[in-house]
Subunit: 204 residues, 4 copies
DNA sequence: CCATAAACGAGACGGTACGTCTTGTCTTTCT
DNA sequence: AGAAAGACAAGACGTACCGTCTCGTTTATGG
């Protein structure tokens, strides 16, 4: 049993890559993830199927890269620091602002279908899941970690608090509502989350 | 175009239904959700494919019912109120106990594969998602709502707090870690979540 | 390693079989054998590919049966004994008549393309070759054997002659010219063959 | 629409040509004609695919030339006039000897697979067929024509006989048995053919 | 003696077809 | 009438080759 030799990445067609990304995102948006097929992506991109299988292992893999690429392009287009969390000194205000922006993004249909599709695939497909988390999710969460550390330095957050856990108090509820549609997603909701998380729900 | 007459449910074979549930759960456990096929379920259950399509609309639908049924059977076997939340008067202790039990369940491989599969399907398939949430998830969350209301009556939780939102502070982080594998799931972790949620992370 | 169970021939769709035969013969006639594909036959016949692979092992196999079926249908349509060799008592005249009819058939484009295709496939594919010879070719040659035996009884052919070999003297040259295009095929030519074969080419 | 400039044959790599011939013949012998691919030939010969397409139009074309070349090399190795027909004055003996040699060749596995493959391709592919006949078959048949002419001069064959037709009486039956496997190929058989052909089958 | 142009190896590309697999429907036969 | 069985139309899967098209790299004169 021999592995076939890895393809020569230096000779890869950039045009095809682009066309495949575009086709994949377009199809997922139009017909949904399950009805998006490798064959369909190839046809739409004007590309042979083998060109897809040469560089990606599955439909999910294509979509993951396409989505990462989309993120990068939008980031580049939008300016330099697209996902940084502001640090005005007012922790509650900063978190509310960022979560409101996240709400906007989650409700943007351009993102919704492909990212929900990827998240779903990631639940069931370990490899996709790991990559989704490590390339997309965790880097964003680390921004919250940084902001919370700064807040600890400023005395706004107890120093015995683990920022990696603390951030989940406001991020995970939003994530779950979005993923599993367990409730509406609004500015009010995220503002409330921040308040509850920062001050707790017990009387003081 | 006429709808075909609905099948007569009174003549339905209970034996087939059972066999289909069992086969579906067994297959999902053995080969995973994507490689579980309607054909495979029918063959394993010793049932014609049409018998499946007559009563269910899809593989996901079969699995959803099979899973609900499993839950009911286990509930019946275990006693009357398996998922009630204790009310000892110590809110923190009660929540920690329930969350520790939930951790055990989430890590039980008999549950893990099918429920993760259903959750994944629910992300992408609206109908399955709604049913998953309304039949499985929300009833459990309402137990937390009830316990938090009781805590409000006892003065352990501020009365201006919305219990339906508040419960997400400790439930959603656990859900997200489990669904998306964003971090380890331990008793320590859930204990910490309860503490942060109840008292907040800001210094007092 | 288990063989999959043989399909149940009693439940076979006669309509599909017909449609496949027709499509196969039509396509071979229109685009030639090499550009006739299983996919094309299925599409033209309005049939799933699996229905072809369920009952036949290859494109050649389909075409072989289609051709045999065509022969049977034409035979039935044409009357009872389509390919019998007349026995008027005049061996030379009888053979010339039959060979002239054969010339007509070989030059009929409806037969030419598929039978040449089958013959070609038979050269390279043992199974097809055996079946082509045993089901199509040899039965025809046996008619010549019978006629030559009758001629031996009548004293028109030496009794030490092997009819199975003797018939090749006039049949094989025609076959080779047709198969390999080594020369023109005309009534004159076949008449000449019969004369040479019957009387030899040495002076008497 | 411009034709691309014909490649410069003077700069052609003789080493590649040889390697391609060898690879083509070896592959046809090992896996059969249909499973021999241009890609396989190129890989085996250590040659780029384009080098094949630059000089030949198809797999059949490569194989035809490879086979012609093989013939030439064997001829050169074996002596000067390998395929001449002896002329001892005894026509029957001379023909029998040559046909026996042909039987040997036809049964030699080194020749069998590629020549059968070429013959098959020639049935279906006009261009290959013409070249196969004109370059390989007809030159051999002309040797028989010459020998029969000489026999006519000697009075051993009637002068009204067309040698080009007459030779088919013993050559074509052998050809058909070999091509279509319609019967065994033996010395006895070819001897009988010569006798029947020379003297006819009718009583004298 | 190098410049340069063609043939060369390698292999990525857009395609077509393969033979397999699964879906959801339809049909037959049995109970 | 429901069920077991399984054939059917449809169409995606992932693979194999096709013939074309770059890429550098020999190679082999010819200025």
């Amino acid at each position: 049993m021999v592995d076939k030799p890895a393809p020569d990445a230096t000779r890869r067609s950039e045009k095809s890559r682009r066309a495949i990304y575009d086709a994949a995102l377009a199809l997922v948006g139009e017909v949904g993830y399950p009805r998006t097929t490798v064959e369909g992506i190839a046809a739409r991109a004007g590309v042979g199927k083998q060109t897809i299988y040469r560089w990606w292992s599955s439909k999910a893999d294509v979509l993951l890269e396409a989505f990462l690429d989309l993120g990068e392009r939008l980031a580049q287009a939008a300016g330099q620091e697209p996902y940084a969390i502001p640090d005005t000194g007012d922790l509650a205000a900063d978190l509310k602002a960022v979560l409101r922006a996240t709400v906007d993004e989650l409700l943007d249909p351009r993102f919704e279908v492909p990212s929900r599709a990827l998240a779903a695939e990631g639940l069931v497909n370990d490899q996709v899941g790991r990559e989704f988390v490590s390339k997309l999710l965790e880097p964003q969460l680390q921004l919250y970690v940084a902001r919370l550390r700064s807040a600890q330095d400023a005395g706004d957050v107890r120093t015995d608090v683990d920022p990696r856990v603390a951030l989940e108090l406001f991020v995970s509820p939003l994530a779950q509502r979005w993923l599993q549609r367990t409730g509406p997603i609004t500015y009010d909701y995220t503002d409330t989350l921040v308040e509850y998380a920062l001050h707790g729900i017990a009387p003081r």
